[in-house]
């Protein structure tokens, strides 16, 4: 295994970490309309991710930065090619971060309602668009001999990619629902478990369709294994949810995300962005990667820093391990 292969795996790991962690953040954001019955419940939901969402989002920045360093051409083609969807994602992430932080800073109802609406939409839209983006990456897009994306925005909105978007949206919502069941106490927890069943079934239907399509499109033996794991984990997550095993349910929905991302990356390898115009124009781990020296330095960084990051991020979850209910939300809204 050469270093650029190692980095292909590491980039996959970073995206997986991002979707696992911000996946439930996005899901919780969507639940503010889907699950919460009143504004107090919305606050319970938002506070389950309050201390951690920012750290979770850094997985995206790290995935971006690491792709820039390890695969400059992948970074360049992807972000200049998927320009407008990425713009929308960035706008959402900007508004979303401000919304979490500023919502409580004024007591006026209008102010708070507006930010709540913002949290819902800016969680829903990126959850959908990341699926569209990765659907397109896996499927291949119009890339010319100079590694430039030459398609239009409409090419990106093809049925396969849109289905991918629905899968990430529902899967993240499911992930957020079981997370909510795990992190809350009281009535909202019960309702989260009931909702998880519904969302989970929809997710399963869409995911099976999308993953099968992917498998037929560009799969092999390994991706088939990943697909089976993803689907089995999703079913098991649903069963655990029905049995009231919230920890298991959350862990298993996490496994679904890990396996689904793994499957997409397995179908890609050794490409990183296949060209639909000519296979010779595809970006691969070899032609898109950085020099051996840079990859070596980056590997040292990743080997040392990633475990440390996971350790202290994990510690944060332990510090805030208590479930949250309506009784934990202070009545005086302005801080």
């Amino acid at each position: 295994m050469e270093l650029h292969d190692v980095w292909f795996v590491l980039i996959a790991v970073l995206w997986t970490g991002y979707f696992f962690l911000e996946g439930f953040d996005f899901g919780v954001g969507v639940l503010t309309k889907l699950l919460a019955r009143n504004r107090l419940e919305k606050r319970v939901l938002i506070n389950t991710i309050g201390p951690v969402w920012d750290g979770n989002e850094v997985w995206l920045l790290t995935a971006g930065g690491a792709t820039f360093a390890a695969f400059p051409d992948w970074y360049a083609t992807l972000f200049s090619g998927f320009y407008l969807p990425l713009l929308v994602i960035l706008v959402c992430l900007i508004v979303r971060g401000v919304a979490f932080e500023y919502r409580v800073k004024r007591p006026e109802e209008n102010w708070q309602r507006n930010w709540e609406t913002a949290i819902f939409w800016t969680s829903l839209v990126p959850a959908f668009l990341w699926g569209v983006a990765f659907g397109n990456i896996a499927h291949g897009v119009k890339i010319d001999r100079n590694f430039e994306y030459v398609g239009s925005i409409w090419d990106l909105l093809n049925p396969y990619a849109l289905l991918g978007g629905l899968v990430t949206l529902t899967l993240f919502t499911f992930h957020g629902t079981v997370f909510t069941a795990l992190k809350t106490v009281g009535e909202i927890r019960e309702r989260a478990r009931k909702l998880a069943l519904k969302v989970g079934l929809v997710t399963a239907a869409l995911a099976v369709l999308f993953l099968l399509w992917t498998q037929i499109d560009s799969g092999d033996g390994k991706s088939l294994v990943a697909m089976v794991v993803a689907v089995a984990a999703l079913v098991a997550a649903l069963m655990a949810n029905q049995a009231g095993r919230e920890g298991w349910s959350f862990a298993l929905s996490g496994v679904t995300i890990v396996a689904a991302v793994a499957m997409l990356f397995l179908t890609l390898f050794p490409n990183v962005m296949p060209s639909s115009l000519n296979p010779d124009w595809s970006l691969t781990v070899t032609n898109a990667s950085s020099s051996a020296y840079t990859l070596k330095i980056m590997t040292w960084l990743a080997v040392i820093a990633t475990p440390v990051v996971m350790l202290y991020q994990g510690w944060t979850y332990w510090v805030f391990r208590k479930r949250i209910g309506t009784q934990h939300i202070a009545a005086d809204i302005a801080h």
């Binding site: 920012d54 970074y75 360049a76 706008v91 950085s290 020296y293 330095i297």
Partner: protein
């Protein structure tokens, strides 16, 4: 470069707008993290309530500010790929590494520990909670270092070779990229300017309250801390600016010639404090200049030779081939002056303030005041400023809050525009760096989107800051004074509302 709609023009405007905007928040974040941490340390050590109140007050403003810094930073991570894909392809092997280091080492640090700090008041023992804000502070400084090392490589590329076959620059010495003198000087200058900014922010807001005779105890402490910070950081900013200037005279003579609009090289080159007329045609209507100062700034002697714009342009044409290697002279000329002018004005106001509000033991009996009284502004040994002059000082002190922000912005505009037409000095020109596959319409859409969004958020942010500034430090609660002794909070508090919730 002259064409208004050259492919790179919009992309450059967008980069300029998003980056200058982002950098309004960065220096305040860097300095307020450390200053808040310092205040919280004082609280933990002395248990004086004024320090806890100050921590809560400045911490709140810090959080309002860092939220904007964080979200505008996301754009920075991705816009190289979006608008500057050829740049990314060409430099990614070198430039990407410090960015990845920044994300993996600094961003995780900052954002994880900021969450712990915001929500940890009733979940963490006092000292661990304090450690969290220090972690945030370390994170902000590390982050600054890595990104400045990356920028320094654009100013003065080192530790790389050109791979002709792949058509890109490749890293050969990462340590050199991190430790070259440009990076050290830039980090020193930017970090000291950041503390000047945060110090002035503190001075301005404390002066506002003291002027209105509100929250005197907390604000006197804050004023003092702010003033000391402004004076020390102001001095360091000047020293590091001088160092960086000397480095730039060697590495980018064009930038420094343009800073002075010095058209032809000369010995004992003067430095004009103010120039009137069209500097782009040679500034012959100079009002006020200090002879020999530019030579001194260049290499510590008043009579040395400083190359001019024309000589440097010719030298670069010989080196890099035909072309125009001049930046936009009036911009560099004025940006350089506004940077120094506003930065040093803030320093001077701080210095004056430190003297006027000096400690009790330096004052005669009748001018000393108690802990909860607004200090007299004492200019000479025995005499306080007249009410009119005193009022004027407080107003100026309030206004100084904005000066370093202006200076910082012009500092970046100067150093980035002064490097033009290069994006990586001597290696890659800006016009070869843009994304060939991105249409002008797309860039226009994103520029309008970001600009509009940023403008709206600016209004929201400033209003929110104003609200919390006016409100002053919060009253302390029982919970504030009795932090938990166990990680995760005390068991008896299991059903209590959280000390802070979104």
């Amino acid at each position: 470069m002259d064409l208004a709609l050259a492919p790179e023009t919009l992309a450059r405007w967008q980069f300029g707008i998003t980056t200058v905007y982002h950098f309004l928040f960065v220096p305040i974040t860097i300095s307020l993290a450390a200053l808040t941490a310092g205040l919280q340390t004082a609280w933990v050590r002395t248990e004086k309530e004024k320090y806890l109140k100050a921590t809560k007050f400045w911490g709140k403003l810090f959080l309002i500010n860092i939220a904007m810094g964080v979200v505008t930073g996301i754009v920075q991570e991705f816009q190289f790929g979006m608008n500057w894909s050829d740049y990314s392809r060409f430099v990614g092997d070198v430039f990407g590494a410090p960015l990845a280091f920044e994300a993996l080492i600094a961003f995780f640090f900052e954002s994880t520990f900021i969450g712990l700090w915001i929500f940890g008041w009733d979940k963490l023992p006092k000292k661990i909670h304090l450690a969290c804000i220090w972690m945030v502070s370390i994170g902000t400084i590390l982050s600054a270092y890595f990104i400045l090392a990356a920028n320094s490589w654009m100013q003065h590329p080192v530790g790389y070779r050109i791979n002709g076959a792949k058509g890109r620059a490749e890293l050969t010495d990462f340590w050199l990229v991190l430790t070259q003198n440009t990076a050290l000087a830039q980090a020193f200058h930017t970090l000291s300017a950041s503390f000047l900014t945060g110090g002035a922010f503190m001075v301005g807001i404390a002066a506002f309250h003291l002027f209105r005779k509100r929250h005197i105890t907390v604000m006197k402490t804050s004023l003092r801390l702010g003033l000391v910070t402004v004076v020390i950081a102001g001095m360091l900013t000047a020293i590091s600016g001088d160092t960086l200037g000397k480095v730039m005279f060697k590495q980018q003579p064009m930038k420094m010639a343009a800073a002075e609009a010095l058209w032809d090289g000369q010995n004992s080159a003067p430095f004009s404090i103010f120039a009137y007329g069209d500097v782009s045609k040679g500034h012959n209507t100079v009002e006020l200049s200090v002879p020999g100062l530019l030579s001194f700034l260049a290499d510590d002697t008043f009579d040395s030779y400083v190359p001019g714009i024309n000589d440097t342009n010719k030298a670069e044409q010989q080196k890099y081939g035909p072309g125009d290697y001049r930046p936009i002279i009036p911009v560099t000329f004025w940006a350089f002056r506004w940077m120094i002018g506003f930065g040093m004005a803030s320093f001077a106001i701080g210095l004056a303030g430190l003297w006027l509000t000096r400690k009790k033991f330096m004052l005669p009996q009748h001018l000393r005041v108690g802990e909860d009284e607004v200090p007299h502004l004492v200019l000479f040994r025995n005499k306080a400023l007249s009410p009119k002059l005193g009022r004027l000082y407080w107003l100026v002190a309030i206004w100084t809050l904005g000066f370093p922000l202006i200076a910082n912005s012009w500092g970046w505009i100067f150093t980035e525009m002064g490097r033009q037409p290069w994006v990586v000095y001597g290696v890659l020109q800006t016009r070869h760096a843009v994304s060939p596959g991105v249409s002008q319409t797309e860039v226009l859409i994103s520029m309008i989107t970001f600009t509009t969004l940023y403008a709206i958020l600016a209004v929201v942010e400033v209003k929110l800051l104003a609200k919390y500034i006016k409100a002053g430090p919060p009253e302390l609660t029982e919970a504030d004074l009795n932090p938990p002794t166990k990680i995760g909070g005390e068991a008896r508090d299991a059903d209590k509302p959280m000390a802070f919730s979104y």
